[in-house]
C-alpha cells in the first residue's frame, strides 16, 4: 500500500507540477496583486479592498456581468436542447447519419476568432443582401445595437458548440442498453414515454457534464466576443472576460483587472460546482 502511494504521487508529479506552475502560483500571485496598485510593471503600495470595492460602482463591469448572465442562461438552454436534439437525430438508423454527425461537429473545429469574423461577414454583408432581396426587414442592421449583438453572439456560440455537446450526448445515448428500450416497447410505452422515463434518466450524467461545459464556457467566452462585436456599439455587448482584458490593457489598471478576475473566478466556480452537486444527485445507476 505504501509502495503504491509513492508511485501514485510519482506519476502524478509532472501534471501537478505543471498545474502548480501555470495555474496555482499565477492565481496566488494574481490574488496578491489585486490588493495592490500594480500597473503591469510595478506597484508602489497596498490598497486593501479598494479594488474590490470600486467594482461595485463600475457600471461597465456590472452591465457586462448582467449581459453575460443573460447570455449564459440563453446559451445553456439552447445548446442543451439543440445538442440533445441533434444527438437524437443522428442516432436514428438512417442513411447518412455519420455524415451528419461530422457536419454538425465541424464548426467546433474552427477557432472562435475566425468564426467571429466569418459570422461578422454574414451578419453585416449577407444579412442585408437577403433583407434587400427578400424584403425581410429584421435582417437589416445586425450587430449595430445591443439586441442584435446579443443574438449574434448567441447564434455563433450555439452554432459552434452545438456539435460538441451533441457528441457527448451521443456517447451516452449509445450506452443505453437496447434491452431496456425493447422491454419498454413490449410493455406498450410510447416514444415520448420511453424518452422521458428511460432515455432521459439514463443520460443524466451527460446532462451534468454538458451543463457544466456550457455554463463555464458561456461565462468565459472571449474570442467570439472580441472578433464579432468587440463589445460595441458603445460597450453594450461587452462580456465579462472582455471587460477584464480591457481593464488591464486599455485602462492600464492591472490591479483592478485582477480583482475582477478573482470575482469572476469565484462566481463561475461556485455556480458550476453547485450545478454539478445538484445534477449528480439526480443521476441513476443501473
Amino acid at each position: 500500500m505504501k509502495n503504491k502511494s509513492t508511485s501514485f504521487w510519482l506519476f502524478l508529479a509532472p501534471t501537478l507540477m505543471a498545474l502548480l506552475l501555470v495555474v496555482f502560483i499565477p492565481a496566488l500571485v494574481g490574488l496578491f496583486y489585486s490588493f495592490t496598485n500594480w500597473d503591469g510593471l510595478s506597484f508602489t503600495n497596498f490598497v486593501g479592498w479598494n479594488n474590490y470595492l470600486s467594482l461595485m460602482s463600475d457600471k461597465d463591469f456590472i452591465s457586462a456581468f448582467w449581459f453575460t448572465v443573460k447570455f449564459v442562461v440563453v446559451t445553456v438552454i439552447l445548446l442543451n436542447v439543440i445538442g440533445l436534439g441533434l444527438a437524437l437525430l443522428v442516432t436514428q438508423k438512417f442513411k447518412g447519419n455519420n455524415f451528419l454527425k461530422t457536419v454538425f461537429f465541424m464548426p467546433n473545429l474552427i477557432g472562435g476568432l475566425i468564426l467571429g469574423f466569418i459570422w461578422q461577414f454574414i451578419f453585416t454583408e449577407v444579412f442585408p443582401a437577403l433583407a434587400n432581396n427578400l424584403g425581410l426587414n429584421f435582417l437589416n442592421g445586425w450587430l449595430t445595437n445591443q439586441a442584435t449583438g446579443f443574438w449574434g453572439l448567441v447564434i455563433v456560440t450555439v452554432w459552434q458548440m452545438g456539435g460538441y455537446i451533441m457528441i457527448i450526448y451521443i456517447a451516452y445515448l449509445q450506452n443505453i442498453p437496447d434491452e431496456i428500450i425493447e422491454a419498454a416497447k413490449i410493455d406498450g410505452a410510447s416514444a415520448w414515454q420511453r424518452f422521458v422515463n428511460i432515455t432521459f434518466p439514463m443520460i443524466a450524467p451527460a446532462f451534468t457534464v454538458c451543463m457544466f461545459l456550457t455554463l463555464s464556457n458561456g461565462f468565459k467566452i472571449y474570442d467570439q466576443n472580441l472578433s464579432l462585436t468587440n463589445g460595441g456599439p458603445y460597450k453594450s455587448t461587452q462580456m465579462l472576460a472582455l471587460n477584464i482584458v480591457n481593464t488591464a490593457y486599455t485602462e492600464n489598471d492591472f490591479a483592478r483587472a485582477e480583482a475582477k478576475a478573482i470575482i469572476f473566478f469565484i462566481i463561475v466556480a461556485s455556480i458550476a460546482l453547485i450545478q454539478v452537486y445538484y445534477n449528480k444527485k439526480k443521476e441513476v445507476d443501473l
Binding site: 442592421g141 445586425w142 458603445y234 486599455t250 489598471d253
Partner: protein
C-alpha cells in the same frame, strides 16, 4: 563497403561541423565591436520596409545586427512592451505613442535633448514627448487627415474642393452631390464608419476639442478640465457625415469605408488620412494615383488648415550599454539625415518626413504630397488627440458616448456632458 563509405562521410561532416562551430566561437570573441539593436515598434505597416532598411544599413555597418518586431498600434503594442521590459528582454529602440506612454515609460527612455535629430525635428513635433526639459522620442513621420475625395465626382458635379473652406459651403456642396448621386453613380456622399469610434473621438474631435489647447497634446494631457466650447460645430459636422452616409452607419467599419465604398467609387468622400493610400492602391492603382485628393475639414477660424501630426515616436532604452545606445542613435540619425536614408524614408517607408532638410523631395503619392505641402507651408492644425488616446477616457468614455449618440441612444448635450465630466473625473484621480 558502401556503408563504411557513408559512415566515413558522416564523420567527416561531423568534424567539419564541429570545426565550424569552433571557428565561429573564436570569431565572436575576437570581434568585440559587434552590437545588436533590437527594435520593438508600433507601426505594423512599416515592418517590411524597416527590415529591408536594416539590411541596407548592415551592408555598410557589418558589426550591427538587427532584431525587429512590429506590433499593431494602440492597445496591442503597450502590453508587449511591458512584458518585454519586465521579462528582462527589453528592446534597444521602442515606440512611444503619446504623452501617456511618455509618463509610463520615461524611466526607460534616454534623454535625446540636444542631439542632431532632435534639433532637426520640425517645430512642434517634439512637444508631445518633452517632459521636464527632457526629450524622450523622435517622431517617425507626420500624417494628416481630412476628407479624402474622388476627384472625378467633384469634377462632374462642378464643385471645386479647395473652395469648400467654410462649414456652410461644405454643407451646400454635400447637398448638391447628394441630389445628383444617381447620375454620378454613387450610393451616398460619405461612408461614415460608426464602428470605428476613433475616427470621430480622435480625428474629428481633435478639431473642436483641441482648440483650447492650441492643438498641443501635452497641454491637453495635463489639463484638469476641457471646455469643448466648439462642440456644436462638431455636432453639425458629425450629423452631416451621418445623414449623407451609406446606411446603417453603425454597421460601417474601416474596411467597408475605405475598401468597399471609397475604393470602389461608391461614395464621394471619406473622412480619413493619407495612410489609406496603400489600401486604395491595392484595390485600384490608377484611382489611387490619379483619382484621389484630400481637402481640409472646414472648421470656423481654421480655414484651409490641415490637421498634421504624429503619434509614433522612437525612444532609445537608457538601460542598455552605452555602445548599444550609441549604435541605436547612429542608426536613427543615419536613417533621417543621410542622403541614402532620406530617400528610404520617403520612398520605402512612405513617410512624410517630420524633419528639416527634405525640401527637394517629392512624396510618392498625392495624399502624402498634400500633407507634406501643408507641413512645409505651416498651414496646419496640431494633433491634440494623442494626449488622450493613451488614457482610459478615450475608449471608455468618449468613444462609447459618441457611439451612443450616433445610434440615437443619447442626445448631444448628454454626450458632451459625459465627455467633459469624464475627463474631469479621470484627471482628478491622477
Amino acid at each position: 563497403m558502401h556503408l563504411s563509405k557513408l559512415k566515413r562521410f558522416g564523420y567527416a561532416l561531423a568534424i567539419l561541423g564541429l570545426g565550424l562551430t569552433l571557428t565561429a566561437c573564436g570569431k565572436k570573441s575576437s570581434e568585440n565591436d559587434k552590437v545588436t539593436i533590437s527594435i520593438l515598434q508600433s507601426k505594423v505597416e512599416s515592418n517590411k520596409a524597416l527590415k529591408s532598411i536594416a539590411k541596407t544599413y548592415q551592408k555598410k555597418h557589418p558589426n550591427v545586427e538587427f532584431k525587429i518586431q512590429s506590433i499593431g498600434g494602440g492597445t496591442d503594442y503597450n502590453p508587449v512592451l511591458k512584458t518585454r521590459i519586465s521579462s528582462g528582454n527589453a528592446p534597444t529602440i521602442f515606440s512611444l505613442l503619446g504623452p501617456a506612454d511618455v509618463i509610463q515609460f520615461k524611466k526607460y527612455a534616454a534623454d535625446l535633448n540636444g542631439t542632431k535629430l532632435a534639433k532637426l525635428a520640425n517645430k512642434g513635433t517634439l512637444d508631445t514627448v518633452t517632459d521636464g526639459g527632457k526629450v524622450y522620442g523622435y517622431p517617425y513621420n507626420v500624417e494628416g487627415y481630412g476628407f479624402v475625395y474622388n476627384k472625378e465626382v467633384f469634377e462632374k458635379a462642378g464643385i471645386k474642393p479647395e473652395e469648400l473652406t467654410t462649414p456652410d459651403k461644405f454643407q451646400e456642396a454635400v447637398k448638391q452631390i447628394d441630389s445628383k448621386k444617381d447620375e454620378l453613380g454613387l450610393d451616398a456622399v460619405f461612408a461614415t464608419p460608426g464602428k470605428e469610434a476613433w475616427v470621430f473621438s480622435d480625428h474629428l474631435a481633435n478639431l473642436y476639442l483641441g482648440q483650447e489647447f492650441n492643438g498641443n497634446s501635452l497641454k491637453l494631457y495635463k489639463s484638469k478640465s476641457m471646455k469643448f466650447t466648439a462642440n456644436q460645430e462638431m455636432k453639425d459636422m458629425l450629423d452631416l457625415e451621418m445623414k449623407y452616409s451609406v446606411k446603417p452607419v453603425m454597421q460601417v467599419d474601416y474596411t467597408s469605408q475605405v475598401n468597399k465604398n471609397f475604393s470602389e467609387k461608391k461614395v464621394a468622400m471619406v473622412q480619413q488620412g493619407n495612410w489609406i493610400y496603400s489600401t486604395i492602391e491595392g484595390i485600384d492603382k490608377d484611382f489611387a494615383n490619379n483619382g484621389v485628393g484630400m481637402m481640409t475639414i472646414p472648421v470656423k477660424g481654421q480655414e484651409g488648415k490641415l490637421p498634421v501630426g504624429t503619434s509614433n515616436y522612437w525612444a532609445i532604452n537608457n538601460k542598455k550599454s552605452d555602445k548599444e545606445q550609441k549604435a541605436a542613435q547612429d542608426f536613427l540619425t543615419w536613417l533621417y539625415t543621410s542622403k541614402e536614408g532620406k530617400d528610404l524614408v520617403v520612398n520605402k517607408l512612405h513617410y512624410v518626413p517630420a524633419y528639416k532638410g527634405y525640401s527637394d523631395f517629392k512624396m510618392p503619392d498625392a495624399l502624402s504630397q498634400q500633407v507634406f505641402n501643408a507641413s512645409q507651408s505651416g498651414k496646419v492644425i496640431g494633433w491634440s488627440f494623442p494626449g488622450y488616446t493613451g488614457t482610459p477616457w478615450d475608449q471608455n468614455t468618449m468613444q462609447p458616448a459618441l457611439q451612443k449618440y450616433m445610434s440615437g441612444k443619447a442626445d448631444w448635450d448628454q454626450t458632451v456632458k459625459t465627455a467633459t465630466d469624464g475627463w474631469k473625473k479621470q484627471q482628478a484621480e491622477n
